[in-house]
Symmetry: C2
C-alpha cells in the first residue's frame, strides 16, 4: 500500500494504470473510517484492479459553524484499516494541495443541493460536488463508491457524473448498521453512551414507516414519523422527507420507489438516516 | 475526417486514442468558423496527433434575449474548412445530446464570471464553463485551444482546468484581425458594410492606448479610451476595463502586464476586443 500526498503523483500513477487497461476504483472519504467505508473498499477490491481510498476532510463541505475543526482524524487507525483491506493507494492530500488560496471554481447542482440536507447546510453539497469532480480527475476512476446513508449525496454525484459526461460508474453500497440498528457514521464518535442508545430508535421508526408504505398515505406516514421521532429525548428534527428515489422530487401516491430520509440532532450531534421503500 | 454526432461515440474513439498514447487536441467552437478558429486548428494540427473540432451552438451561454436562434450555422462551409485543414474528427452533437431536459449541473467561477462581460451576460460564463468541462470529458483532450479575443473566457477556462485538476493544457492563440484591424468574429456577419467600417476604429483606439500604457496613468487611459470610443457613430459601450493579465483583477500602477478589454454595441451587434499591454 502506497500513501500519496500530492495530486501530481496520484495523477501520474493513475494515468499509468488507465493506459495499462486497469479498472480503477475510488473510495472517497473524509477518514474516520468505519465498517461503512470498509464495505465500499471491499466492493472496489472485488470489482477493480486498483483501489484508491482518498482521505481528505474537505472544508468546502462544512458550514462556518459546523464541526470542521473537531471532525475526527484518526490517521493511524485509518491507514491500518486500508492496509488490512489491501487498498493499493491511499490519497491523503493537504488542504493547500486540494484547495490552494486562489481556488475559484465550484460545481453546483442547484435543484438537488438546496433541498433536504441542503436547506440546513447551504454550501455543503457544492463542496461535495467540487471535491468529487476534482478526485475523479485526479484518480481517473472507472468506478466510484458511495454509501447510501448519504442518499442525497449519492444522487447528487450520480447526476454530476452523468451531466458532465464523466465515464465513471457511480456505485452505491447499502447502509451499514450497528446491531442496535443505528446507521454507522464517523459522527457517531461524538455520541455519549446514552445518546447512542436513544439514537438507535431512529432506524426503528424508519422500519415502521417502511411496513406502512404500501397501505398508508404519504402525509400520514410523514406525520407519524415526525411524531415518533419527537418522542425521542434530546432530539431536534431538521427534516423528515419522503422523496422519489429517482430524482429526489417529493414523492406522491404514484411513486413506486421512494426514500424516507431524516436528519436530526441528538444533543450536539447531527445524524442522518434513510430507508428505501418500494411498492 | 469523421463527423461524430453522439457523446458515446466520440468518447469511445477518443479513449482509444488516449490509450494508444496519442496526444489529443480539442478546438471547441460554436461553428461559423473563420480564420480565428482556423488558427486554433492549425496550432492543434502542429502540436497533436489527433485534432477534434467541436461545433455546438451552446444555448447555456446565451441569455434569454440574446441571439441564440439567429446565431449563424453554416454547417457545409464549416465542414469544408475542417476538411481543408485535415481535422480528424468533427463533433456535432444535437442539443438533446449535450443538454437533455433533465440536465442539472453547472460549473461556476463566481469571481471571474460576474465581472466584465459577465456583468452584462449574467449566465454566459457558467454556460461556457459547463459545456467546456463536458467537452473535456468527452474528448479526453490533452490540449484545448481558445482564441484570445474572448480573453475573459480564456482565463475562466484556464482557472477551471487548474482548479478541477483536469490534466488538459489550455492553449491560447492571438486574436486574428481583418486588414482593417477589426477582430475577426462570427458575429461580424451581422454587421452591415458601413457598420464594419466604423467597427474597425475599435482596434485603432486600443492600439493608441497600448502606446500610452507606459507613460500615462490607468484612469487617464480608461477615460480617453471611453471618450474616443464614444465618438464612433451608433456605438454603445458595455464596458472598458483595464485588468490584470493574471487574474482579471483591476490593474493598478504596479501592474506589469495588463489587458485593456472592451465590449461595445455597433447597432444591434455586440463586439468585444482587447489588447495586452506590458511594461
Amino acid at each position: 500500500m502506497k500513501v500519496i500526498k500530492t495530486v501530481s503523483e496520484l495523477q501520474k500513477i493513475a494515468f499509468k494504470h488507465l493506459k495499462n487497461g486497469d479498472e480503477i476504483g475510488l473510495v472517497p472519504t473524509m477518514g474516520a473510517l468505519h465498517q461503512g467505508h470498509e464495505s465500499l473498499i471491499l466492493k472496489s477490491k472485488k470489482n477493480d484492479d486498483v483501489t484508491i481510498v482518498s482521505i481528505f476532510v474537505n472544508p468546502a463541505q462544512f458550514g462556518p459553524n459546523e464541526d470542521y475543526l473537531k471532525y475526527p482524524r484518526p490517521t493511524t487507525k485509518d491507514l491500518q484499516l486500508c492496509k488490512k483491506n489491501h487498498v493499493d493507494y491511499v490519497f491523503m492530500p493537504t488542504l493547500n494541495e486540494m484547495f490552494p488560496n486562489n481556488h475559484k471554481t465550484f460545481v453546483e447542482v442547484p435543484d438537488l443541493q438546496n433541498i433536504m440536507c441542503g436547506k440546513f447546510r447551504p454550501t455543503h453539497f457544492r463542496g461535495v460536488a467540487t471535491v468529487v469532480v476534482k478526485l475523479l480527475n485526479i484518480s481517473y476512476a472507472c468506478n466510484a463508491y458511495f454509501g447510501m446513508k448519504d442518499f442525497q449525496q449519492f444522487k447528487l454525484i450520480e447526476t454530476i457524473v452523468k451531466d458532465l459526461n464523466f465515464k465513471t460508474k457511480v456505485i452505491s453500497c447499502p447502509i451499514v448498521r450497528e446491531k442496535s440498528g443505528l446507521a454507522i457514521s464517523s459522527r457517531n464518535l461524538y455520541l455519549s453512551t446514552q445518546e447512542k442508545e436513544i439514537s438507535s430508535k431512529i432506524s426503528k421508526i424508519l422500519k415502521e414507516a417502511l411496513r406502512d408504505f404500501k397501505n398508508k398515505n404519504l402525509s400520514y406516514l410523514k406525520k407519524t414519523t415526525v411524531n415518533k421521532l419527537n418522542k425521542i429525548p434530546h432530539i431536534k428534527i431538521d427534516y423528515v422527507d419522503i422523496v422519489n428515489f429517482k430524482d429526489l422530487s417529493f414523492a406522491d401516491k404514484d411513486t413506486k420507489k421512494a426514500v424516507l430520509a431524516v436528519a436530526v440532532w441528538i444533543g450536539k450531534t447531527r445524524l442522518i438516516d434513510n430507508i428505501i421503500m418500494t411498492k
